[in-house]
Amino acid sequence: MLDDFLIRAALAGIGLALATGPLGSFVVWRRMAYFGDATSHAAILGVALALALHLPIGIGTLIVALAMAGTVSTLAAKGWAMDTTLGVLAHSALAFGLVAISYVPNVRADLSSYLFGDILAVSRADLAFIWGGAALVLALLIWRWQRLLTATLSEDLAHASGINPSTERLTLTIALAVVVAVALKIVGALLIAAMLIIPAAAARALSRTPESMATIAAFIGAQACLGGLALSLWQDTPAGPSIITIAALIFAASAAFGRAAHK
């Protein structure tokens, strides 16, 4: 069954959505959208690093994404003006990555697959990496779920309950770096943040508790992947952007529904 590239693509998308649903919800709750951008754009730099050092792409992106996510949360903890700083980091990471990668011979042809993903070329090994990473992220989030929620709701309440908010911030930082490494092959560096934010935002209007929002976001993400694949096959459009297009359409529908429901 895994011989079929379409099945592999669909499984890859579903695996990613299982992790991006809950993690993306935290990104939305904590207003970390730009944080996601900075980390995912750094993935291109990770690709350049991996190619230069002959490392697996997944490892290179993981290392650089971890470094970027760590830098950003350290700066945030030191009270930097995050909006501007993150903007600077996000765009410079992308620019540095693109410049760095241009030094690696024979990669220009593949560049768009790193930027926009190449879900139709997912191999069995990629699939194992994607599901392994997604399972890791999911396990991490479930393990610390109550603490993560409390720290997200209010750092003061967390402290008073004996929870250290910095530990929970670190948990999310690590989870984000892993998701970036996992998502690179599927939607590409430019659209990873979209895969985190759009399904979660679409789930917001339909949910009353954090758990329902995370679950619905995962479901919407999976639907977007399947729908995007179908769109891509039918119209011969690039798969990564097609997935995000479907996610955006679901978001629009959910926002309209949410508005109507609250009238």
Binding site: V28, W29, R31, Q146, R147, L149, T150, T152, L153, S154, E155, D156, L157, A158, H159, A160, S161, I163, R204, S207, R208, T209, P210, E211, S212, M213
Partner: protein, 277 residues
């Protein structure tokens, strides 16, 4: 109130000579205090005098510049912050909020909500609660931890009059039932005097502390009784010139004629209340 002999007293939370600074600004200087079992202690002081900061320092939320805080091992603590801003981006029902971070049973959640006057509000969204309702929800959550101590930052703000009366009855009941101690910040001096075992006046440091009847027996206090929210300010001022002991030995306020000055000087004046230095 039950008290163990001095020296063998088990303090739930104590602070030894703590100071807190934000950047260059010293907000708390050399504050020492101890809260014992079943004690109701109220912090009073003008706006910006560091009351919330002191609570936050005791809970480990803000770092200390010096000194240390000790909490009894495995202390069960219920905290109601002065303000809780819940982002609309996060869906959160009142029921779900009560189970953070410790899961509580439906039955207990229902009982706690009924106790704070929010019966049947399990399904309401936290972000849509009114100020007073939010206050009640936070109190219910604090009660559900079966606290040995409740740390409450202006718990009656935004409560209607009935709610306020019910609140003070509730903490009195709670103390009788469970022996919980209460450390709270309050501006309504009348009630403070009636409901506390000990009153601590704070203005960056502890200006005075003592049993309310000691504080309120001063002639100035009677003169100030009708002055509403100015009361806390004036009380602080009147007691301030008194000897500082820095510890938790109650200091009886000395009569002064400074009450009028309290209204002439601004509490934001950096030298306000520091005329002893």
């Amino acid at each position: 109130m039950p008290r163990l002999p001095k020296g063998r007293r088990m303090s739930l939370i104590s602070a030894q000579h703590i100071s807190v600074a934000f950047g260059a600004a010293n907000v708390l200087t050399d504050v020492s205090l101890a809260i014992d079992q079943s004690e109701i202690v109220t912090l009073i002081g003008p706006n910006g005098s560091g009351k919330s900061t002191l609570l936050r320092a005791l809970l480990g939320i803000v770092p200390l510049a010096s000194g240390q805080v000790q909490r009894a091992p495995d202390l069960r603590l219920g905290y109601v912050p002065q303000k809780l801003a819940i982002d609309r981006a996060m869906p959160m029902t009142v029921r779900r909020f009560l189970s953070l971070p410790q899961n509580v049973r439906d039955k207990d959640a229902r009982a706690a909500l009924a106790r704070v006057g929010l019966a049947g509000q399990e399904g309401a969204q936290m972000a849509q609660l009114s100020g007073g309702q939010m206050q009640r929800a936070m109190l219910a959550r604090a009660l559900l931890t079966d606290p040995q101590i409740l740390v409450l930052d202006e718990p009656t703000q935004g409560l209607d009059q009935q709610g306020e009366a019910a609140f003070y009855r509730l903490i009195e009941e709670l103390r009788l039932e469970t022996g919980a101690a209460v450390l709270m910040v309050s501006h309504d001096l009348h009630v403070v005097m009636a409901a506390s075992d000990r009153v601590i006046c704070l203005n960056g440091h502890i200006c005075c502390q003592g049993a309310p009847h000691v504080v309120s027996s001063a002639p100035e206090y009677r003169a100030l009784f009708g002055l509403g929210t100015q009361g806390a300010l004036a009380l602080y001022q009147h007691a301030h010139d008194h000897v500082h002991d820095g510890g938790h030995v109650p200091a009886g306020p000395a009569p002064t004629t400074g009450a009028k000055d309290a209204f002439g000087r601004s509490p934001t004046d950096p030298h306000y209340g520091h005329n002893h230095a």
